[in-house]
């Protein structure tokens, strides 16, 4: 309600609407570009990180005209990931098998990427940024039903994968596609239950309000982050999120020892690149959701709207701009750390078997999620609903 009144005051004139729309568009462009950039960063982390974990050297050859070598710079495989890999991908033939449904085969990569990227549109990247007379909420789209929106967009993510597998008219691809569908819908329920428990805890569907509720401290020093209230929910979301992103240990839809490459067996070139991007964007998305629900979103410990208030009683007042930058940086640093955690898990654990996967989902996570939800709701109601 407060925000609606605030929005209306901004919309006092027509130019107010135009400026509001422009600000919204800028926020959307910023978050999409950031996600694209971070996707590349994750790709690099994955390549060099996996090499580090497996005691290999990893990508270290590609260079531009031997420039790096001549300048004596160590080669960290950045050019490999940022330049050489995409160029190699784009110079492949865009192949569609004869028996495939050409239209759906082309549509599937878009349907896979689009739900993942549009979910970022409700990610709160910071609190309020004041520029002149404008108060910019650093959440691209200020939905008051954002948690429901997240569940909806994650729900449609299965279409691109299932369609990609089906349209290829290839047995491996079809098997990968239906495996992916069954896996994603199974773990979506656990994910939904984990998010509901968080919604019950904060009593709101608004992600920005959830982040604000995680400000402040307990016992004078402990940040009020959601993980301390909902540890079970955090584990549920992490596991089901990793299953949704279809990476090891949940990579049965593309298990290369069984299914060649799963649902993208018949894809090459640019379309294959879109599927790969989807993978890494999903890793980032899970990290964003966990950050928002359990790690305070943009909250920096002891940082308030007017600056730092340290546990000892010391205070360090800061201008609004600095606070906003700190929050923005904190949000993305948390996201990167949680993405690295997922990459670490991906390169540590072996793959599950399909029956183990389904058992974990239906017999483990779903009952646990229901139990956690009921327990949370009971505590909230018994505490008198504040």
């Amino acid at each position: 309600m407060r925000r609606r009144a605030h929005t209306q005051s901004l919309l006092a004139s027509d130019s107010g609407v135009t400026i509001e729309l422009v600000i919204g568009a800028i926020k959307a462009v910023v978050i999409v570009l950031l996600v694209l950039g971070l996707t590349t960063l994750m790709l690099w982390f994955e390549r060099k990180g996996s090499a580090l974990i497996q005691d290999r050297i990893g990508a270290n050859r590609a260079d531009i005209f031997g420039l790096g070598k001549r300048l004596g710079m160590p080669n960290f495989g950045v050019i490999n990931t940022v330049l050489a890999d995409p160029i190699k991908m784009f110079t492949k033939e865009d192949f569609v098998p004869d028996g495939a449904d050409r239209f759906l085969h082309g549509l599937a990569p878009f349907l896979a990427l689009f739900p993942v990227i549009i979910t970022f549109a409700v990610a709160p990247m910071g609190d309020i940024l004041k520029i002149g007379k404008y108060q910019i909420d650093l959440q691209p789209a200020n939905l008051d039903v954002a948690a429901l929106y997240v569940l909806a967009t994650i729900g449609i993510g299965v279409y691109g994968i299932a369609l990609g597998g089906w349209a290829s008219n290839n047995r491996w691809a079809l098997l990968g596609g239906i495996r992916a569908s069954a896996q994603m819908i199974s773990y979506e329920i656990a994910m939904g239950l984990a998010i509901i428990a968080v919604v019950v805890t904060y009593g709101t569907l608004d992600l920005q309000q959830m982040c604000r509720a995680q400000g402040g401290v307990w016992f004078g020093f402990l940040p009020r982050w959601g993980i301390l209230l909902q540890p079970v929910s955090f584990l549920l979301l992490l596991i089901s999120g990793m299953a949704e992103s279809k990476r090891v240990p949940f990579d049965l839809p593309e298990g290369e020892s069984e299914l060649v490459a799963g649902y993208f067996t018949e894809y090459s070139g640019g379309k294959q690149a879109v599927f790969m991007m989807t993978d890494f964007a999903e890793v980032l998305l899970v990290a964003v959701l966990i950050t928002v629900f359990f790690f305070g979103g943009w909250q920096v410990p002891w940082l308030y709207r007017d600056g730092f208030h340290f546990p000892g009683g010391a205070a360090w007042p800061l201008p609004n701009l600095v606070v906003a930058i700190l929050q923005f940086a904190a949000f993305w640093i948390k996201v990167i750390i949680l993405s690295c955690l997922q990459i670490l898990i991906r390169w540590t654990l072996p793959r599950l078997r399909y029956d183990q996967l389904m058992r974990l989902g239906w017999k483990g996570l779903v009952p646990l999620g229901l139990l956690n939800l009921v327990a949370t709701a009971f505590v909230v109601v018994a505490a008198g609903g504040k």
Partner: protein, 122 residues
């Protein structure tokens, strides 16, 4: 007021951007990718080198359909619980008990599927 427009506009922009990204990637590939001649062998579905045995669009295990049915039931449950979760504080103990009955009824469904072996894949 224009509350709806200004709220949803960033999402529309994001959707447009995704379309643009995918279109750019596919178009770059079309422009700079090679176009070797198409042969009937190359156009076959890849089945590890064996000649493909007919179309893949046939029947597959009924378990996947059962999982999809179970999913429908429980996903609808989850969606119905969202408004309840957001308003639980004002509903109080009455709302909690009502949702408990609702969850319990659906849990019986899960227990039934469990007993019938729908969840066993081995």
């Amino acid at each position: 007021m224009n509350y709806g427009l200004t709220t949803w506009f960033p999402i529309a922009v994001t959707i447009g951007l995704v379309g643009l990204i995918v279109l750019t990637m596919v178009t770059i590939n079309r422009l700079i990718g090679p176009r070797p001649p198409h042969t009937s062998v190359k156009g076959e579905a890849f089945e590890c080198g064996n000649p493909p045995s007919g179309s893949a669009w046939g029947r597959f295990s009924v378990r996947f359909y059962l999982t999809a049915l179970l999913f429908l039931v429980f996903d609808v449950e989850v969606v119905f619980l969202y408004p309840w979760a957001a308003e639980l504080r004002s509903l109080g103990m009455f709302g909690f008990v009502e949702a408990l009955v609702y969850i319990a009824i659906l849990f019986v469904g899960l227990a039934y599927a469990w007993r019938r072996g729908v969840l066993d894949w081995s």
